[in-house]
């Protein structure tokens, strides 16, 4: 079995703390995979190994069938969207420019930029009036939507999401989930979603991988995981509801 992303014999430590000892993992193309686990289980590190923000101590990470490159990282990363909790929006840029910066850097025409920005904002239910606002003038939920639009701007082959929907109230989160699913319906992208909330993963993902202390404890289609009687999985469901 091969994936659009493959980890082989992966080992990674931070100082004395060993995150992964010997991990093998494949991510299937064209679907949304939820990486679920408690904080500190290494799931964010996995994302950053995919786009080269982190490097393995041992083992290999292959993306698009090739090892993660050392040079030419910028063009490599433009094929991989990235959105993160806390959003990391550029505080000095308007909403429109936050979303469209990558298009500008790719040399897109103004018309193309306007069109793409409009499409994405509409899909994520962002009012057109917001384009000239700065990030600090937006609500938390609006900021997260902008983050998603920015990550999706170049229609990346892979979208990496690191808890991008946490930290907002449940109603808003439900709205964003709905809009995100709508967006995924109109773009064909491999999504890797990191979350500690099993119910979120179940709602958004096609496949789920449960990680505990750097090891895979469960892996499979959503239905199978949902019906699992595993105590740890049950606990993750519970935690999601609590948060």
């Amino acid at each position: 079995m091969g994936g659009i992303i493959e980890f082989r014999h992966l080992a990674k430590s931070y100082g004395q703390t060993e995150v992964f000892r010997n991990l093998d993992l494949d991510i299937s193309p064209g679907v949304t995979t939820g990486l679920v686990g408690e904080s500190g289980c290494g799931k964010s590190t996995l994302l950053q190994l995919i786009n080269g923000l982190e490097r393995p101590d041992r083992g290999t990470v292959r993306t698009f069938g090739e090892p993660v490159p050392v040079t030419g990282l910028a063009s490599f990363r433009r094929r991989i969207g990235y959105a993160v909790q806390g959003t990391g929006l550029f505080p000095h840029m308007s909403v429109a420019r936050n979303i469209s910066l990558l298009g500008e850097l790719e040399g897109w025409s103004d018309a193309r930029i306007r069109a793409r920005t409009g499409t994405l904002m509409e899909l994520m239910a962002l009012d057109g009036e917001l384009t000239s606002r700065y990030p600090h003038e937006l609500s938390g939920g609006q900021q997260q939507r902008v983050g998603i639009c920015r990550a999706m701007y170049l229609q990346p082959d892979i979208l990496l999401l690191d808890e991008p929907f946490s930290g907002v109230d449940p109603l808003t989160r439900a709205d964003i989930h709905e809009q995100f699913l709508k967006l995924m319906g109109s773009e064909s992208t491999t999504v890797v979603l990191v979350t500690h909330d099993m119910s979120e993963a179940v709602e958004l993902a096609d496949e789920i991988i449960v990680i505990r202390d750097g090891e895979i404890v469960r892996q499979g289609p959503v239905e199978r995981i949902r019906q699992s009687s595993d105590a740890y999985v049950a606990r993750l469901f519970g935690q999601g509801r609590a948060s």
Binding site: A74, R77, R78, V84, G86, G88, P91, H92, H136
Partner: protein, 528 residues
């Protein structure tokens, strides 16, 4: 600069103005007439080089005290009378600066004293005769012309009242009067040819206290002091009706004034200057100095009326530049000095910061060196520049540049390393190249800090640049330096007020710049 005892003279006086109305210089300059076209560029170039060499004005310098300015003005006027074009670069901050300027060709002549040359330049033990001096000065490429006729040496002064009460005429008379209170300038107390030697030679029983030279005369008049040191041609001796005691044992070395010129100066220029030989005795010089300090006439006016009386110049219109012209010229020079220095510091400081900010060790190193430069007192840094870059605007710009580096580099590095790590991670993950990261994210975010650094550098430079006048760079320091030498507040204000306004203007400019370049919500969260 303390080696120049003469630079310590403080006396109030009139604003200094250059003598205007330069006479059309005729005789020595003959431009090549219509050069035949066949001779082409080369000949034209040669001709213009020669013309340039001929028309290059003769630059007269001076140090920063009344007599220096006045003698320089006389030298300049005598040359102008004979058709030479003259530029004045007066107010050089001390013997070493003036001498260095002469040696390097920045100036062609300035008035100097035999004793000063022997001590400060040649570091000779004891006195040197004129021939001996010139033999020793030859390797420097400079030459002392024949003396002007007076000896501005140290003198011991008392009030006329004290002199008549104790029947004082000679220094040796002081030995019998232990009750007299002695107060001397700090330098005089330190110099071997000052108080220590004097006390020994004359066997004086008194002790002395140190006092600012400018205050000593007042203390004398107030009756707080009885005896102080003076310069024998000081105009204030007349002004305050002080008596000079005769150096009957011949203790003080001679400080004979003479034009010091570049040895390669054209013979006709040297000859023209010889018109001043033996023209002035001690009393005449004292009276002329007093005209400046007491009657508040300009150096140019005093020099001209004296030279007129001697038949050395013909009456001509002297149009002194107006206050506004002088102000404008000084302000422009000042702006030029600071603008070049700060712009260069921006390029180098920001460039350095961008190179090193990712390495904490290198960042610390750069900040350490820049900080070290900052601790050098500005006047010392300017003085240190002289052997490296001579005098004038270049060393001043270099010094200001070095001072501006720290605030700019420090603020840039600090701003770059304190950018939110999450933002940094996202910027990389989105696929911005290093250049794009800097251009679109890091530098715009660091901009408020960087602007604050440049603003500090600019304001500090505008202030520090006033000191650059000491090494002949001109600018708004020029009236300040002259005003300090003459104890002339209005002259000092002519430099200080525009400098303060410039600093305020710079603040305003950066405020506007920040408002234009930085979104408002980012300004408030950035601390200066």
């Amino acid at each position: 600069m303390s080696t120049d005892r003469r630079s310590l003279k403080n006396t109030p006086a009139a604003p200094r103005t250059d003598r205007g109305g330069r006479r059309a210089a005729g005789s020595s300059r003959s431009k090549p007439r219509a050069a035949p076209r066949v001779i082409l560029l080369l000949a034209g170039l040669c001709a213009s080089l020669i013309a340039f060499a001929q028309t290059r004005p003769i630059v007269i310098g001076s140090k920063t005290f009344t007599e220096g300015y006045l003698l320089a003005e006389m030298m300049a006027q005598v040359l102008e009378e004979r058709g030479f074009e003259v530029r004045r670069r007066t107010g050089l901050g001390g013997t070493l600066v003036a001498f260095q300027a002469l040696e390097s060709g920045e100036i062609d002549a300035y008035p100097e004293y035999t004793g000063t040359l022997a001590q400060a330049i040649l570091e000779a033990e004891g006195e040197l005769g004129e021939e001996e001096l010139n033999a020793r000065l030859a390797p420097f490429g400079v030459e002392l012309l024949a003396g002007l006729g007076f000896n501005n040496t140290y003198a011991i002064a008392v009030t006329g009242e004290t002199a008549s009460r104790f029947g004082l005429e000679r220094i040796s008379d002081l030995a019998a009067l232990p009750q007299l209170r002695f107060g001397f300038s700090h330098e005089f107390r330190d110099r071997a040819d000052g108080w220590p030697g004097l006390q020994q030679r004359y066997g004086l029983p008194q002790t002395s206290s140190g006092i600012e030279h400018g205050l000593a005369y007042l203390a004398l008049l107030e009756g707080d002091l009885d005896v102080t040191d003076a310069y024998s041609t000081d105009g204030d001796l007349l002004r305050y009706d002080l008596s000079v005691l005769e150096d009957d044992l011949g203790f003080f070395p001679a400080y004979l004034a003479a034009p010091l010129v570049r040895a390669d100066l054209a013979p006709d220029v040297k000859a023209a200057l010889s018109a001043l030989t033996d023209l002035l005795d001690d009393e005449t010089m004292r009276a002329l100095n007093a005209e400046v300090v007491v009657e508040e006439r300009t150096f140019a006016q005093v020099a001209q009326s004296f030279l007129l009386a001697q038949g050395l110049v013909t009456p001509g219109e002297t149009r002194a530049p107006t206050l506004w012209e002088t102000l404008g010229r000084n302000t422009l020079t000042h702006l030029k000095l600071t603008a070049i220095a700060v712009l260069a510091a921006c390029v180098v400081g920001v460039g350095l910061a961008l190179l090193v900010y990712r390495s904490p060790a290198l960042s610390a190193g750069v900040l350490y060196v820049a900080g070290l430069l900052q601790t050098i007192p500005s006047i010392a840094l300017l003085a240190l520049m002289i052997p490296l870059a001579g005098v004038g605007q270049v060393p001043a710009i270099i010094a200001l540049f070095l001072y501006s580096l720290l605030p700019i580099a420090r603020n840039t590095i600090t701003a770059l390393i304190t950018i939110d790590p999450l933002l940094r991670r996202v910027t990389q993950a989105l696929g911005l190249s290093e250049r794009e990261q800097l251009r679109h994210v890091y530098v715009p975010l660091a901009l408020p800090h960087m602007l604050a650094g440049v603003r500090i550098a600019a304001v500090v430079s505008i202030g520090t640049a006033t000191l650059a006048a000491f090494i002949g760079a001109g600018g708004l320091g020029e009236p300040i330096v002259t005003g300090l030498a003459l104890n002339d507040t209005s002259l000092i204000l002519q430099g200080a007020i525009p400098a303060a306004l410039l600093a305020l203007g710079a603040e305003l400019l950066f405020e506007l710049l920040e408002r234009r370049l930085v979104p408002r919500h980012l300004v408030s969260q950035q601390a200066m």
